[in-house]
Amino acid sequence: MANEKATESDFCKPTSKLGTIQIEPEGIRDLRTGPLVYWRVFRTFVRNSLVRAMGFRANFWLECVSSVCWTVMNLVFFKIVFTYTDSIGRDTGWGENEFFVFLGTTWIITSLIQTFVMPNAQEFSELIRTGQLDFALLKPIDTQFLISFPQMVWSNLANLFLGVFLVIYSVYLLTTNAENPLPFGVGHVVLYVLFLGCGLAILYSVMIAMAATSIWLGRNQTLYTFWFYLTNFYRQPMEIYQQGFWGWALWGLFTFVVPILLVVNVPARILAEPLRPGWDERTWALAGLTVLATCVTMAIARFVFQAALASYRSASS
């Protein structure tokens, strides 16, 4: 309900002119028609969730600190690992700095998903269970959009900054490396951001499709557990799985069936070029596969979502 109140105040902004209060109705008109609706609604979601987070400021900062702590622990672990080895995997090129580009990318993606997608995916299951999805279905806007973005947990974004910093710092070390320096240009950044977007879209699709299944399963409280297991698999360079039968089987599963291994691997690979100079055939193939996988998973998620909505029967109220 807090959502709706804030929405109202957003679109009926009281502005003080010459001491009188006027209500601007344009906002409401725009909400009903026009292609900018989605942007405006999204902006409202952002504002609402920021207001909510800032209501408990001390708690917000504490949450930031604790999520940063987890991440730093992760970094310390790999710092220690790299005192014993100089790369992750034989001839993979994932040396310390290359791997830290990878690690930073993992943090960026994980924090974005945990900020924007996870709270909503979780809430979606709850809406189904309690029957409150009815209200979302009645609204004159795409339901998938409406349930995908209303809540944002901003404190999870702290790791985004850490990730960006780690990536920039590691790329700097790689480019200034005397032997075999990393080639770096605007093209790298553009492609990196593009494939980050693909990765996010893939993870979003997987999570939304998973959440939508709770329409059939009744309850899906293990979504966070599922997410935890997924993160465990995608946050490693894919080369580590390419050993033995079970390794290749896992690699195949998470590259072609549930393509989460592409999520971090491809952008990190494009930026850090572990096997530099240049792209080998494998990088090209992976990049192509990622674009394809993004389209397919998005389509499947949409299909699953619609199919799930079709069999939604509300809950007794």
Binding site: L62, S66, C69, W70, M73, Y84, T85, G89, Q243
Partner: protein, 285 residues
């Protein structure tokens, strides 16, 4: 029937209720336990890749299993991670801190003030009951995973004296985990909101107990400091004992120190409870 008899009766009742409460969700439970081993897969492949890269640096034809990091070869490392799961099955106390904190916040501890039941004692009994049920069900998934991974245990099954030591250490880690988390929960008498404190504790414990990797890998000044802290007895020490890394006199001393920590934290618990009650005010019904 003496006072002792009725007390035993009471304990038995608390214990039985807790067991039955726990058996309600047994299916979910067993599946959840098996799923918890999934991240092990990644761990195995990650360590494999690390050891493989080290072998490659030593020159072609070097056997991966000949590579050691601080005395751990690849098999030891994987066996260690598996044993940590076993140790954590004893020392982790999900919901204990938050449970105590909530009952202080909401005033539910009133019932312990008017009933002839000791809160810490009954919590311990409940926890023992829950753990026993947990082992009863988790032994399936655990046995399956350990059987599938048996080739990683180079030293084989521990010798009888070592096994006895391991049992003592695991019981100690259960008691230590309980006492440490109970202390944390009792801090709620003063702070009311302990969830952030509990989170920091969880982080510290995850890192300093050796949950992520064997503590032997820690660089020089850190390993010494960590050796002085109680966290290692929650995961690292039991695993090292099971792997046969700690034997003889060292093992005996380890157990002594572990139980001293248990006693220390238990005394602290009692003290916090008594001091906390003097601050506590229960209003309303």
């Amino acid at each position: 029937m003496s006072a002792l008899g009725s007390r035993l009766n009471l304990w038995w009742a608390i214990f039985r209720v807790s067991v039955e409460e726990r058996l309600v969700y047994r299916g979910d439970f067993a599946f959840g336990t098996l799923m918890r081993f999934l991240p092990m897969l990644t761990q195995i492949f990650l360590w494999w890749a690390i050891f493989d890269a080290m072998a490659a640096r030593q020159g072609d034809g070097t056997d991966v299993n000949a590579i050691r990091i601080k005395g751990y070869n690849l098999h030891d490392m994987i066996a260690y991670m598996l044993l940590v799961m076993l140790a954590r099955a004893f020392s982790s106390m999900p919901g204990l801190t938050s449970g105590i904190a909530t009952s202080i916040q909401k005033g539910e501890i009133k019932k312990f003030l008017i009933q002839p039941v000791d809160m810490l004692g009954s919590l311990l009994l409940q926890r023992i009951a829950h753990k026993l049920v947990y082992y009863l069900i988790a032994i399936g998934p655990f046995a399956l995973v350990f059987f599938l991974c048996r080739s990683f245990f180079d030293a084989g099954f521990p010798a009888p004296d070592q096994l006895l030591g391991l049992v003592l250490v695991l019981i100690g880690s259960f008691l230590l985990g309980f006492a440490m988390e109970a202390c944390l929960g009792l801090v709620a008498f003063w702070l009311l909101e302990v969830s952030s404190l509990a989170f920091i504790f969880m982080l510290l414990s995850f890192f300093l107990s050796g949950h992520m990797f064997p503590l032997d890998l820690m660089p020089a000044p850190l390993d010494w400091i960590i050796g002085l802290l109680p966290f290692q007895y929650l995961a690292y020490f039991p695993s090292a004992v099971a792997l046969g890394k700690v034997t003889g006199e060292e093992l005996v001393w380890g157990i002594v120190v572990q139980y001293l920590w248990v006693i220390g934290f238990w005394v602290l618990c009692r003290w916090l409870w008594v001091r906390g009650l003097t601050r506590y005010g229960g209003y309303g019904g």
